[in-house]
Structures are given as C-alpha cells and as structure tokens.
C-alpha cells in the first residue's frame, strides 16, 4: 500500500505549482508576445527567434533613429526607415520594434506594403531606462534585417512598480 500523501501546505503548493507548469507549455508566452516579457539572447526561445521563426537575422538595411540622450522616457521620438524599393515584388512587410529593458519587450509592429511607397515610420515611444532598442524588418522575400540604436534615458518611463 502506498503511503498516503499528507495534505499540508508544502504539498499543496508543490501540487499546484506542478499543475500550473503543466498547463503552461514552454513558449506559451509566444502566443501573446505583447503581454509577457521574454528573453532576448540567453537561453530559451528569444523574442527575435519568435519574430523571425528562426531565420537568420542580418544587420543592415534598417535604420532606427532615436535620440542619443532622452530626457524623458515617457515620450521618446523614434524614426524607422528601411532601405527597400517598396514594389509589388520587393517590399517591407512588417517592422517590429523590440526593447531590451521594457516590461513589454515587443513595443510595436508596423505593417507596410507596396501601397506604402516607401518604408518610413515615425512615432513616440516609452523607454524604461537606458537601453538598446532593436528594429526587425521582414521583407517580402522572407529575409529579416536588423537595425539598432542605443539610448540613454535620464528619467525612465514609470512602467515599473519600483
């Protein structure tokens, strides 16, 4: 006869943790990349791998302009441009903006097409501290290109509880 498992605090916690882990398969976050932070580099599926589907990411063609020094992280002007003729056969499909330190890593995705005429986006972003910001562009031929910018933020956006 197997020994009955005592219902105490530790076992209940262990069991519930096991159930939680079983219910959350690895990479479950990937289904809602906007909602959960995710590692870039290091171990596990990186956000960039998720964006590219494991395809190689090459540096170039994407230009990400952010101020070198941003006084207020709550609103930082950002300009993105991709070197592309934007024709029916050769255009930018989507540009993802990825943060190194924000609690929500995938900041925004912009979908373009041949109707855009050129690949240039401007917006204002929130940055939780000094960091490197990445822009990943997917072309119509399936290649992925990366641009990056380093920003020093004097006053971080209040997006942490700290």
């Amino acid at each position: 006869m197997s020994e009955p498992i005592a219902i105490n605090r530790r076992n209940v916690l262990l069991a519930s943790a096991g159930t939680l882990l079983a219910a959350l398969p690895l990479g479950a976050w990937a289904q809602s990349p906007f909602l959960k932070p995710s590692p870039i580099g290091g171990t596990g599926t990186s956000l960039t791998d998720f964006l590219t589907g494991g395809a190689p990411l090459r540096l170039g063609r994407v230009r990400l302009d952010l101020p070198v020094l941003a006084e207020n992280g709550n609103s930082v002007p950002m300009t993105l441009s991709v070197d592309s003729p934007m024709t029916d056969t050769d255009h930018v499909k989507v540009i993802h903006l990825v943060s190194e330190r924000n609690p929500v890593r995938l900041m925004a995705s912009f979908h373009l097409g041949p109707r855009s005429g050129k690949a240039e986006i401007a917006s204002r972003v929130r940055l939780a501290g000094s960091q490197r910001v990445f822009a990943v562009a997917q072309m119509s031929d399936g290649t992925f290109w990366l641009g990056l910018a380093d920003v020093v933020v004097t006053l971080s956006a209040c997006i942490d509880e700290s």
């Binding site: 109707r115 204002r124 997006i159």
Partner: protein, 106 residues
C-alpha cells in the same frame, strides 16, 4: 477617443505622402497606481488599421511601449482621391474610428 490626421494640402496622383495621426488615448501601462494605491488597469490601443479605397494600406499593433496619445507617421502612395478610414481598438474593447478625405489634384 478623438483623433487628428494631417495630410499634405496639395497631393498629386502618384505622390508618396506622409500621413500623420494623433489619437487621444492614455495608453495605460498597467504598472501604475492611482492616488489610493489601486493598480490602474492596462489600457492601450492594441491594433490600428488604415484603409484607403477599400484596401488596407497600413496597420500597426501597439503596446504600452508607445507613448500616451500615440503619434504615428506612415507613408502612403496616393493612387487617386478617396478617404483614409482609420479604425482602432483598445484593451477595454473600445473602438475608435476616424475618416480623412484626401483631395487629389492632377
């Protein structure tokens, strides 16, 4: 939710213009607390679409990484007169729309 759109006053057929859009929205991150210490629920614009002549010409997925009162500038090749139809939806499920006619000369 109100929005403002800026387009060039004079557009010729075939021009690539920059469409500038400003939406009034707090883009609450969900990490901030109000004066009484309660967490303010996350409420950001999730998706934004722009159609022109019945065709989607631009769309974006936003998050709390975009500043409050989101400003967006994107390019568009104008093939003829028509209306830019913007639609967006936030976490609270509130939908917003804005229409901007484009006058084309030549």
């Amino acid at each position: 939710m109100t929005a403002r759109v800026q387009v060039p006053a004079r557009i010729a057929r075939g021009d690539v213009i920059q469409v500038r859009l400003l939406i009034q929205h707090p883009m609450e991150t969900g990490y901030q607390r109000d004066d009484t210490g309660n967490v303010i629920a996350r409420n950001t614009i999730r998706t934004l679409k722009c159609r022109f002549g019945g065709q989607e010409v631009f769309s974006a997925e936003l998050s709390s990484g975009v500043a409050a009162n989101p400003y967006l500038q994107f390019p568009l090749r104008v093939t003829g007169p028509g209306t830019l139809a913007f639609t967006w939806i936030d976490d609270a499920g509130v939908e917003g729309t804005h229409n901007q006619p484009l006058e084309v000369t030549g």
